[in-house]
């Protein structure tokens, strides 16, 4: 009953955001194509120069494309669903007092923030990610098993949750500082760039940080080892590829815990 009401409300509110974006139809399509292109050229450039090198850390272009496709698809999906938590956007909401108004509504706060923005144009980037992913499948000839087929959507959703956790944690930071929000970009945009390449090309301390502190390697790299039937050069236990849901949703939950701490601080200081 309550859940039904909440979901109906969410879709109603999202519908408004989407309709507002479609009012300027041309701008919408130009924007959509623009974002698709801007992110797509990154992979095209890699593909263009790859012939000179043959492989990167022992991985073929198709195998790197698998990482890249998964990262881009998941990040773009997250960016659309979590638009309201985007630190750049959310810090404005806090500064303009829109967040105060949310506190005055008898509806769950996360729901209101999820519903406060929904950038449909991220579909451009999503399409680009899916195209690269599809390209990788034609090159790599993955030996599909039922387990792999079942696990692929799980990994994708877990990666969406993980990236969502980064946005929510960044939004939590907005309750403490308005000036350093740009630094969150290191984790979001830097993170996607880093995850698009096999983890073993990085230094050990760097890898450790992104396995044990921010568990991003468990979401993209290790599942990719499983799908591509590659051995683990880093020597983690054999169940490492299957920790993706734990790492993804664990990060998201931890980020929300942090966010609530931020809300509590905000309501006691009212910055």
């Amino acid at each position: 009953m309550i859940l039904g009401h909440t979901m109906r409300l969410y879709f109603k509110l999202i519908g408004i955001r989407v309709r507002a974006q479609m009012q300027y139809r041309l701008s919408f399509w130009v924007d959509l194509a623009g974002t698709g292109l801007a992110t797509g050229v990154e992979f095209l450039t890699l593909a263009a120069v790859f012939g000179r090198f043959g492989s990167i850390g022992g991985w073929s272009l198709g195998e790197v494309a698998f990482l890249y496709g998964l990262v881009e698809t998941a990040f773009a999906t997250m960016d659309m669903i979590f638009s309201g938590f985007d630190p750049d956007f959310f810090s404005q909401q806090v500064r303009r007092g829109t967040f105060d108004q949310m506190l005055l509504r008898p509806v769950s706060l996360p729901l209101q923030i999820f519903a406060s923005e929904f950038l449909l144009r991220r579909i451009g980037r999503m399409a680009q990610g899916l195209a690269v992913w599809g390209f990788s499948l034609t090159l790599t000839h993955i030996a599909w098993t039922p387990a792999k087929l079942l696990y692929l959507p799980v990994v994708t959703v877990s990666t969406v949750a993980f990236f969502g956790g980064l946005f929510v944690a960044g939004a939590a930071l907005c309750f403490y500082t308005v000036q350093s929000i740009e630094a969150v970009n290191i984790f979001t945009y830097g993170g996607t760039y880093m995850l698009s390449y096999p983890m073993h090309i990085y230094d050990e301390w760097f890898r450790r940080f992104f396995i044990y502190i921010v568990p991003s390697a468990l979401l993209v790299y290790y599942p990719a080892l499983f799908f591509l039937d590659k051995p683990d050069p880093l020597g983690l236990p054999s169940f490492a590829p299957f920790l993706a849901p734990l790492a993804g949703f664990g990060t998201l939950l931890a980020a929300f815990a942090l966010w609530w701490v931020g809300v509590r601080r905000y309501t006691s200081t009212g910055t």
């Binding site: 109603k12 507002a20 009012q23 007092g97 005055l104 008898p106 509806v107 006691s268 200081t269």
Partner: protein
């Protein structure tokens, strides 16, 4: 009657961090946490009965908006108690905000891209107002606030006055127990102000809605509020009838007299002459020194009077004087 709002020993302290400038300063900001404590609200107490319409006054930075934020559940107090309709606002925030309405100044709460009517319909879902009650309330507000002229206009194209009317309707659709209004007439022209005031008065009288109003425009207070509370530097300095406030601090009244003929010796005991203009003489007299009727009878004993009027001190000037001269400071609250 039990009060609908009761506040005891309410305090709110903020830590204001000292910021060092420059590159070295940025580093010091990270390492040291020097701050001073600002007491925005410093031990206030009051009770409001259901159906009251209270004006909450104070100069900028006096603690007005901090109090309102605590009453609406946006801000948690440092100490003290607040109880609104039997609830502690910040402890049961969602249940609390479902039973209050709030309109904050020029801040719009409606959806920018939607026509007014669709915005209101969304609020019906958010507050879960039963369809029948929604229809009834909407019909009432359409009439009282003349919403029909812009009901299907997108919110972004509304004038300031229309925006305020739409937001008032939005804040009341769910029949709240208490309505908080922060500067409801700011930036509006006289006609629009008057319309808003009449509306506030009606919902207060006809629906028995408790209203708390903060404003800079003292004619709002003069026309609407019987009771006023005045806060400065975190202390509640006055809580009582507006008339009492004026009586105590209103300063001197003026009596304007038109004599039948120009008089040579217009002086009278207990009042001083501030202006002479032919047969018209203006006296100023202190409230506690002499009553208006006594003054008039003294004058009419000596001369023939054609016309007279008593001018009360203006609320605007009085309140400004209270702020500026801090007349209430040594009053003990």
């Amino acid at each position: 009657m039990t009060p609908i709002i009761s506040v005891t020993d309410l305090r709110k302290e903020f830590k204001v961090f000292r910021h060092h400038r420059g590159a070295l300063g940025a580093f010091r900001n990270l390492v040291t946490r020097e701050y001073k404590v600002v007491k925005a609200v410093d031990g206030i107490a009051f009770a409001i009965e259901p159906g009251e319409l209270v004006g909450y006054l104070g100069p900028n930075g006096a603690g007005k908006s901090t109090t309102i934020k605590m009453l609406t559940g946006i801000l948690v107090p440092t100490s003290g108690e607040i109880c609104v309709s039997g609830r502690v606002p910040w402890r049961e925030r969602r249940a609390h905000v479902a039973r209050i309405g709030a309109v904050f100044g020029q801040r719009n709460t409606l959806w920018w891209d939607l026509p007014v009517v669709e915005s209101l319909d969304l609020l019906r879902h958010i507050y879960r107002v039963p369809a029948e009650r929604y229809t009834r309330n909407l019909a009432t507000f359409r009439q009282l606030l003349a919403l029909d002229e812009f009901l299907h206009t997108p919110v972004r194209s509304l004038s300031l006055g229309q925006l305020m009317r739409a937001n008032l309707a939005a804040a009341l659709l769910h029949d709240p127990d208490v309505l908080f209004l922060d500067e409801p007439t700011i930036g509006l022209d006289i006609v629009a102000k008057e319309r808003i005031r009449q509306f506030i008065q009606r919902i207060n009288r006809e629906r028995g809605m408790t209203v708390i109003l903060t404003t800079h425009d003292l004619s709002d207070v003069e026309k609407l509020c019987e009771r006023v509370m005045m806060i400065d530097r975190g202390h509640l300095l006055f809580d009582g009838k507006l008339a009492d406030l004026l009586r105590r601090f209103g300063g001197e009244r003026e009596l304007v007299v038109d004599f039948a003929d120009e008089v040579l010796d217009a002086a009278v005991e207990g009042a001083q002459i501030v202006e002479r203009d032919g047969p018209r003489v203006t006296y100023r007299f202190a409230r506690d020194a002499i009553s208006a009727s006594e003054l008039i009878s003294r004058l009419s004993a000596r001369y023939r009077l054609v016309d007279l009027s008593v001018r009360e001190p203006e609320i605007e000037a009085t309140v400004r004087r209270i702020y500026e001269e801090r007349l209430l400071d040594n009053d003990g609250g």
